[in-house]
Amino acid sequence: MNKSVDNLSKIKRSLTRRNRAEARFQWYGRVAIFIGLAAVAVLFIDIIGKGHGAFQATYINLNVSYDQELLGIENLSDPEQLVMGNWDALPKLALREKFTDVSGRRDKRRLYGLLSNGAGFDLKDRLLANPQLLNTTESIWLLADDDIDTYYKSWLDGEAYAARLSDKQVVWIDQLHEQGLIHLQLNSNLFTRGDSREPEQAGIRGAVMGSLLTLVLTLMLSFPIGVSAAIYLEEFAPKNKWTDFIEVNINNLAAVPSIIFGLLGLAIFINFFHVPRSVPIVGGLVLTLMTLPTIIITSRAAIKSVPPSIREAALGMGASKFQMVLHHVLPLALPGMLTGAIIGMAQALGETAPLLMIGMVAFIVDIPGSFTDPATVLPVQIFLWADSPERAFIEKTSAAIMVLLTFLIIMNTSAVWLRKRLERRW
């Protein structure tokens, strides 16, 4: 009697202690999650704070006259004449007509510095698209130089950065601002152009296309190879020392630093097979090597999670082993395999190190259209911009990071969604 009361009080005492331990543990968990979320929030705030400016660009309104004689062109359909055409003269003349009191070589150079040096080519594209404009005058918004863009944005924010500008340029911008001839508008160049060394003309289209081509090839190669390897190892291969050895090696490969795959790719694909450097083919092959272990491991896990009763039932009904795998195991394991493939692709999308060795860290202006065109990828573009001296590339870098993060979020969300949607639980 006495003893049982004693036990009960002991249990009661220990119960409060155990409850407190559990509450403490839950709090540790909450704090850990809070720290994680706070880190992500800081990252996002910092990147969006730095990068939001890049989605707008400064434009200046000028009256441009497409004077045939000034251009030195007789026939708009003659490509030779188009190359020789004096396109830079158009924006220069427009600026001189706007600021008639500017004279002297130095001042004129500063005046021309208001506009992007690509303005002449932009006008060329416009004239080619609208040949009837020849010998007419129109009022048009032209892209400003990156220094002007940085100054104008910082000035609108109240902290003018004029170190790269001359006093006269500041006065000119003031005048334009008073007349409403300078403004910010959507920076479409960011999404329609390839890389450029002039920040105002630089875009991520080339890198996005490069990433797309590379990933398509990676998926086309690594998914079938990875899935068939997983099926063979799980369903057909005998369980012996050799398959254990292979399993250890696959798990090892998943943990190998990705630069090693780049070195391997350089040795095999470029030096031995003479695949050209810097093209999506070689990038896709190297990333295939890198994502294969991930896909094999997740596919094997997905196959393992299909209950043996399904296999036994199929075999019992007289299906061959191959039919059993193809008709029953594979469809049931496919959602898990797809999730693994998407996670593998997301990993490949964010990779730069292996691409360094195979020449995809390069300055490429032309937008790649096929697997054999020189290309670069999004993370490499971010790396190259982050390394550039021009101030205006800082916001471009953050903008490109935002685009990359968007792609990653979409891919990872779709992996979660697919799993929720297609997964069957037993």
Partner: protein, 351 residues
């Protein structure tokens, strides 16, 4: 089974690619120095846009890596041009020769200044190369002549009484960087040979001299900040007591954040680097494979664009990007040499 079907397919695909790649290449391939990269990319872009042809592809591999690729052989699998932030070494020239790259055209394009800067929030600093050597070398001369001691200095005032009493804290590039090599050669060695007995050592024992003059201390006073110069600028902003080492174009772009130290009373400006009065500046080069001219389309056009006054002249667009041009006479001679595709003779004074 499926697996077996794929392997021959992949091999076949690669074989067919390699077959097409050994034929003509449409665009120029440039590799090499990350210092020359920002300039050659501008030229490539202008050339591509103006001519309407494919824009040359430019990889930033570092000077040494570029030379290795460039000198591997002749043919469209190898690059046409390599950029370099130092002159080709005689060992590299020999390697080129043995691999069949017989005719190489050398083009010096201009100069790059290396600056030592601090945050604009702190007082500007005046340094001499001797101060830099004493503050940053691993070993410095002791009290007696010929004696070497491990660098004992912890503040700038100990190095030179005229300097402020702040700890020595310098952010600079890691050993893999060309900027670091150039900095060691121009600034450290420049200060090192001010000691007469060390200068005498140069003839007696060249290796010991080089080890002494080029080795940077590793006790925490010199902090390796990575290859990214923008990062160094940001770190200087956060820590006004520190100094940073980086290329002139980054000083030029961030004049509101950092200021360059005067070296031997010379301010690092565009003009002082161009007239060579600023002591820490290095020449920039690129090298062209003559065998590829006429085979890969556009090389001559690219060379003409690079060596035109509107590109590398005093008012050219490369100067706008922070490259310091050659003097006019040298530019003219270099342009003539380049356009006539005159290769190196092998008698140049290469190191």
């Amino acid at each position: 089974m499926t697996q077996l079907k794929f392997i021959p397919a992949v091999i076949f695909a690669m074989a067919s690619i390699s077959a097409t790649s050994s034929m003509a290449r449409e665009s120029i391939e440039v590799v090499g120095s990350s210092t020359v990269y920002p300039f050659s990319t501008v030229v490539a872009e202008r050339y591509g846009r103006a001519s309407g042809k494919l824009t040359p592809k430019i990889e930033s591999t570092g000077s040494g890596g570029g030379m290795k690729l460039f000198c591997s052989g002749v043919g469209t699998n190898y690059p046409d041009i390599t950029n370099s932030s130092r002159r080709m070494k005689s060992s590299e020239f020999k390697k080129c020769q043995t691999n069949g790259v017989k005719e190489v055209i050398e083009v010096q394009v201009g100069y790059d200044g290396i600056v030592i800067a601090n945050s604009v929030e702190s007082a500007p600093i005046e340094l001499s190369r001797k101060d830099i050597f004493l503050a940053l070398a691993a070993q410095v001369p002791g009290a007696a002549e010929g004696e070497l001691i491990d660098n004992p200095y912890t503040t700038w005032k100990q190095v030179n009484p005229a300097l402020p009493d702040t700890p020595i804290e310098v952010l600079g590039p890691p050993p893999t960087s060309g900027t670091r090599d150039a900095f060691a050669e121009l600034a450290l060695e420049g200060g090192c040979k001010k000691f007469a007995w060390i200068n005498a050592m140069k003839k007696a024992d060249k290796n010991a001299y080089k080890a002494l003059c080029h080795t940077i201390r590793e006790d925490g006073a010199y902090i390796e900040a990575g290859e990214n110069d923008n990062l160094i600028v940001q770190k200087l902003q956060a820590n006004p007591a520190a100094l940073g080492i980086f290329g002139f174009s980054f000083l030029d772009q961030n004049a509101d954040k950092v200021q360059g130290a005067n070296i031997e009373s010379i301010e690092p400006t565009f003009e002082s680097i161009a007239d060579k009065s600023y002591p820490i500046s290095r020449p920039l080069y690129f090298y062209v494979k003559k065998a590829h001219v006429g085979v890969v389309p556009g090389i001559e056009g690219y060379l003409n664009e690079f060596t035109s006054e509107r590109a590398w002249g005093e008012d050219g667009y490369l100067a706008e990007k922070g490259m310091i041009p050659l003097p006019l006479e040298e530019r003219k001679a270099m342009a003539k040499n380049t356009r006539s595709l005159t290769p190196m003779t092998g008698n140049e004074a290469l190191k």
